[in-house]
Amino acid sequence: MADSQELELRAVTPTNTPHSHSRVRASLTPIAIGEQPAPSQLRWGKPVLIAIVLAYLAAVLVGPVLAIGYEVAIVGLGNALTALTAPDALAALRMSLGLAAISAVVNAVVGTVLAIAIVRYKFPGRGLLSALADLPLAISPVMIGLSFVLLVGRDGLLEAPLVAAGIKVLFAYPGLVLGTLFVTLPFTVREVAYVLEEIGTSEEEAAATLGASPAQTFWRVTLPNIRLGLSYGLLMTVARSLGEFGALLVLGGSISNETQTATTFIHDAIEERKTAGAYGMALVLALLSVALWTALHVLHTREAQKKAR
């Protein structure tokens, strides 16, 4: 019995302490494990782990971004940017920026209202609403596009009323707006709901006892408290809407000068072997992403500082 215990101990203890030789005290030896330099594996484990993570990030994230830069250099920056001044390229870029702006404005309002409803009010179906707000994250954008097509397209449920009202959704601007709004819905809701949950209700209650109306409480107490979370959510909203491709291709059809966006422009340009335009547009999107990423990072740091205060 004592033998087997000691054997086990030897197995886990790299170097035996004097204690573990004493059979009588075999049951006491586990203390010796604690005295061993146990973190020895971690000493080289840490740099290896970091190296693996960095290599992965380089392969998956940094590499492709650098590749765009490299290709642009080969084509020539001048050529790439000149290709972007073509009317269809400018229209596509303007379209993407416009959609991003619309989704930012709509999500700022809708996201905040939804988050307040989910966190602050108790009503039947609250859990379902919260789950629904996450739905766009789980569904492929192409599927979203397809389901909209089935809804408003030929023989769709809403086709007749839309035709009667003279509204064209598919392969038109409203379709692009719908698709963008759908895929960007979760970001502000999630961020704002999280912050609301964290700050709790006591400041809002304090405002009420001090005589503030619900509107005053919102503008003077709630909004300043969720400002940071809301900005964070909006930055992600903009990034998402600039990068959206599948839903916009299905809903808009990427018609040049009409429903083409920056991403579908790149797709079409590559198909047509207009590499200069494709690389130029990709570079612009990459730069926008870097700018958004920097802004996110700055907000993140500010948030961390605020918590540390």
Binding site: E203, A206, A208, L210
Partner: protein
């Protein structure tokens, strides 16, 4: 302003938080709502503030029925346990908030805020943010903010709960002085009986959502109306006893109690740790288990033959303690004891009870 609460009840799902509570608070007085955690005292306070609504019953502010009044229309100052200061506003803006939302001109609101800053002893800190203040300072700002709009009623929810012991003591005395200065009717919630008794004019003891007793600290200490009050207030020992010849008898212990009980009744005998004497006597009825010195007092834990554990307190230099040490036999004499019918749901615990 006089406050009247009539038959107020409140349920949260299956939990009866407040159960048919009625009481009155005289204008200008300072009242403590005292009770263990989950007794419903905070809910009562929130109902008074209009932050929670009651399921039934009425709340009267003077002659005005306040039951259905919105929180912002009640003119009630509320001090939250964790301050609930507006973190994005300076101390001065926090205090002026209640005036700003009422549309009082900026210069006037600033002047009032600074007046209150001086009142709570934080002059010169108006430009700071809440995160830059200590717990005690934040609580003072919260109080100044609640007082700024000149409320008719001031409510404080565990106002000293989140503050360290030393500062808490100071704040207690200070809040009593402040109340005497400002004179606003005030109600505060606490689970700390020392706090309730040292600060309040009257104490309202709440248990299980019901009012157990409302009275001055002396009334509650000297004349506990229910077994709960007797056991909750101070440090007590409880025994299962039977009435025999006008005395409550438990094992070798016999204590004189009031004559509300009939011969043979089963009762719970409640004895305060300072309502009994003990002295060294080898023919006594108890054995000392443990003695603990607490500053100028000594607490003696003993076991009474056939009755169970008892706790007693003496001044450290008391002549009674001569020769008393763990293991020694002692005689016990009960000076004051109370007996309550044993039918109540409170079972006597084997160990003596003490306050939180």
């Amino acid at each position: 302003m006089k406050i009247r609460v009539e038959n107020v009840s409140k349920r949260f799902g299956n939990f009866q938080a407040v159960d048919n509570v009625s009481f009155e608070v005289e204008s200008g007085s300072l009242v403590a709502l005292l009770g263990p955690s989950g007794s419903g005292k905070s809910t009562i306070l929130r109902i008074l503030a209009g932050l929670d609504s009651c399921d039934s019953g009425q709340v009267w502010f003077g002659d005005e029925k306040a039951t259905d009044l919105h929180a912002r229309a009640r003119s009630v100052g509320f001090v939250f346990q964790h301050y609930a200061l507006f973190r994005h506003l300076t101390v001065e803006d926090n205090i002026a908030f209640g005036l700003d939302v009422r549309g009082i001109p900026k210069p006037q609101a600033r002047a009032r805020a600074n007046e209150l800053l001086e009142l709570v002893g934080l002059k010169g800190l108006g430009g700071r943010y809440p995160a830059q203040l200590s717990g005690g300072q934040r609580q003072r700002v919260a109080l100044a903010r609640a007082l700024a709009p000149d409320p008719k009623l001031l409510l404080l929810d565990e106002p000293f709960g989140a503050i360290d012991a030393k500062v808490r003591e100071e704040l207690r005395e200070w809040i009593r002085k402040l109340h005497d200065e400002v004179g606003v009717t005030s109600i505060f919630v606490t689970h700390d009986q020392d706090e309730a008794f040292s600060v309040a004019d009257r104490v309202l003891l709440i248990h299980g959502g019901k009012v157990e007793q409302l009275g001055t600290p002396t009334e509650i200490l000297d004349d506990p109306q229910t077994e709960f009050v007797a056991r909750f207030v101070g440090e007590v020992s409880v025994f299962s006893a039977v009435i025999q010849g006008g005395k409550a008898v438990s094992g070798s212990l016999a204590a004189r109690v009031d004559d509300d009980h009939r011969e043979g009744d089963r009762v719970h005998l409640v004895i305060r740790s300072y309502d009994l004497k003990l002295w060294r006597d080898d023919a006594g009825i108890a054995t000392v288990q443990r003695m603990v010195t607490l500053g100028d007092r000594v607490r003696v834990y003993a076991n009474i033959d056939g009755a169970g554990p008892v706790t007693a307190q003496f001044p450290r230099r008391s002549s009674l303690l001569k020769g008393v040490e763990p293991g020694s036999r002692v005689q016990i004499e009960v000076t004051t004891a109370r007996a309550y019918p044993a039918a109540t749901s409170l079972a006597p615990s084997p160990a003596s009870l003490s306050g939180p």
